[in-house]
């Protein structure tokens, strides 16, 4: 019997994109369902499948829901284990990837959001935090082609989905991420050459338009 895979998602969500990249890496066919988050409308299905947090992404595999993007990516890796392993097999390296993916979730999102949702001194402080976090991640990358070495994997997926938002951050914050973190941008461009990534990430211009729209609503420019 064929697997039935549905992904509840929002086109601009860097968390949803992680699931998309993982599914693409594994060559899994799935049905993509867009939630209308811009208008704050959550479908009955989303509320049923993620009653605790009511958030996307939710992966529904043969009717059973999995929530939280990094948990989804690990689930995808474990179920479709015959192709493209995403997590390292060695426990210490796995722990290293999990630690830094957790770091990204703890620190990066809040720092980024403040760049476009605040102004003046608060925005400058957010830019500084953001660059510091990226520099720490760039330090972990070192001279390797990907975070885990020669192969694209879990930690690359955790971070690369923020890349399509960089244009919005740079324009709002009036700075160049490449000037501060050239190795990281080189890594991002390398990842973008993978079809799983280029097809899963949102168009950066559309993301910027979205940010402009939200800024107008919040009264920030």
């Amino acid at each position: 019997m064929a697997d039935e895979v549905v992904l509840l998602d929002y086109w601009a969500s860097m968390f949803g994109m992680r699931a998309r990249v993982a599914l693409a890496e594994k060559g899994v066919k799935y049905e993509y369902r867009e939630e209308d988050l811009r208008n704050k409308i959550k479908s009955q299905l989303l509320l049923q499948m993620n009653p605790v947090h009511k958030k996307i992404p939710v992966l529904i595999h043969n009717g059973k829901p999995v929530s939280e993007s990094l948990i989804i990516v690990q689930y995808i890796d474990e179920v479709w284990r015959d192709k493209a392993p995403l997590l390292p097999s060695e426990p210490y390296q796995k722990a290293h990837s999990r630690f830094w993916a957790d770091f990204i979730d703890k620190k990066l999102y809040d720092a980024c959001s403040k760049i476009w949702s605040t102004k003046g001194e608060e925005r400058e402080a957010a830019k500084k935090d953001f660059i510091e976090i990226l520099k720490q991640l760039e330090g972990q990358l070192g001279d390797k082609p990907y975070f885990e070495g020669e192969k694209f994997g879990f930690l690359d997926i955790a971070l690369i989905t923020f890349y399509c938002w960089f244009h919005a951050f740079e324009t709002c914050g009036n700075f160049s991420i490449e000037a501060e973190c050239p190795k990281l941008i080189a890594w991002a461009k390398r990842c973008m050459q993978r079809e799983s990534v280029s097809r899963s990430l949102a168009d950066e211009k559309k993301v910027y338009e979205l940010v402009l729209g939200v800024q107008k609503m919040l009264g920030v420019e």
């Binding site: 947090h53 595999h61 939280e68 948990i71 690990q74 474990e78 179920v79 426990p91 210490y92 630690f99």
Partner: protein, 221 residues
């Protein structure tokens, strides 16, 4: 020879998660107490990102963040499984482990509880997250892990002693048979598991320590 060391701090529930997991797996380790108010070179070297305990050292290599450490222990010493073998059940377990993270802000607020308007809001927020944990996480099971404890029970283990100490300190009891019957029963069952029963900090010392910390953080109390 397996060389396992644990950098800890005696009142920390996060450190106890690791102690319980190591003991359940029968792993011998050397415990090294840290003074978190006067951090050692070893701690700063082993956890430069967060500078916190617990840190597990295995064959000289450090792993930080208790949840990452728990997954590492599970993979490195597979005897006595502490996570389900089925991929979907494992994803669910990871979801409930991660649920702890979103409880932290309301628990911090509860820890610093003072009289005033916010008190009722804080109490309601804590009760709400505990109700979700009880109804959707635990359900009718004896333990989160079913008939025996697993990493989900270990992650929420702080409710078995530390939460009671906070309740005593702020003078508000929330985890009662009348308000949270199944979670209350879970606490009693959890504390009777031999590895847990034999590895808990002294309750009075804990309350005294928490009072001191609270005085430092909440000067007007």
């Amino acid at each position: 020879m397996e060389e396992v060391k644990l950098l800890g701090f005696w009142p920390s529930p996060f450190v106890y998660r690791v102690i319980w997991a190591l003991k359940l797996k029968g792993v011998k380790y050397e415990y090294i107490e840290q003074d978190i108010f006067n951090k050692s070179e070893l701690l700063l070297q082993c956890n430069p990102v967060y500078k916190k305990v617990p840190v597990l050292l295995h064959r000289g290599k450090p792993i930080s963040e208790s949840v990452v450490i728990l997954e590492y222990i599970e993979e490195t010493w597979p005897e006595n499984h502490l996570l389900p073998e089925d991929a979907y059940e494992r994803a669910l377990a990871r979801f409930w482990i991660q649920f702890h993270t979103c409880q932290i802000p309301s628990f911090h607020a509860f820890f610093g509880l003072t009289a005033g308007e916010d008190q009722q809001k804080t109490i309601e927020s804590v009760l709400e997250t505990l109700k979700i944990l009880e109804e959707q996480g635990l359900g009718d099971k004896k333990f989160f892990g079913g008939d025996s404890i697993n990493l989900v029970d270990i992650t929420h283990g702080w409710l078995a002693l530390w939460f009671g100490a906070v309740e005593e300190m702020v003078g508000v009891k929330l985890l009662e048979p009348s308000t949270l019957p199944r979670l209350h029963a879970w606490v009693q069952n959890f504390k009777q598991v031999p590895v847990i029963r034999d590895n808990l900090p002294d309750y009075q010392k804990l309350v005294a320590h928490m009072k001191r910390v609270r005085e430092m953080l909440v000067p007007q109390v």
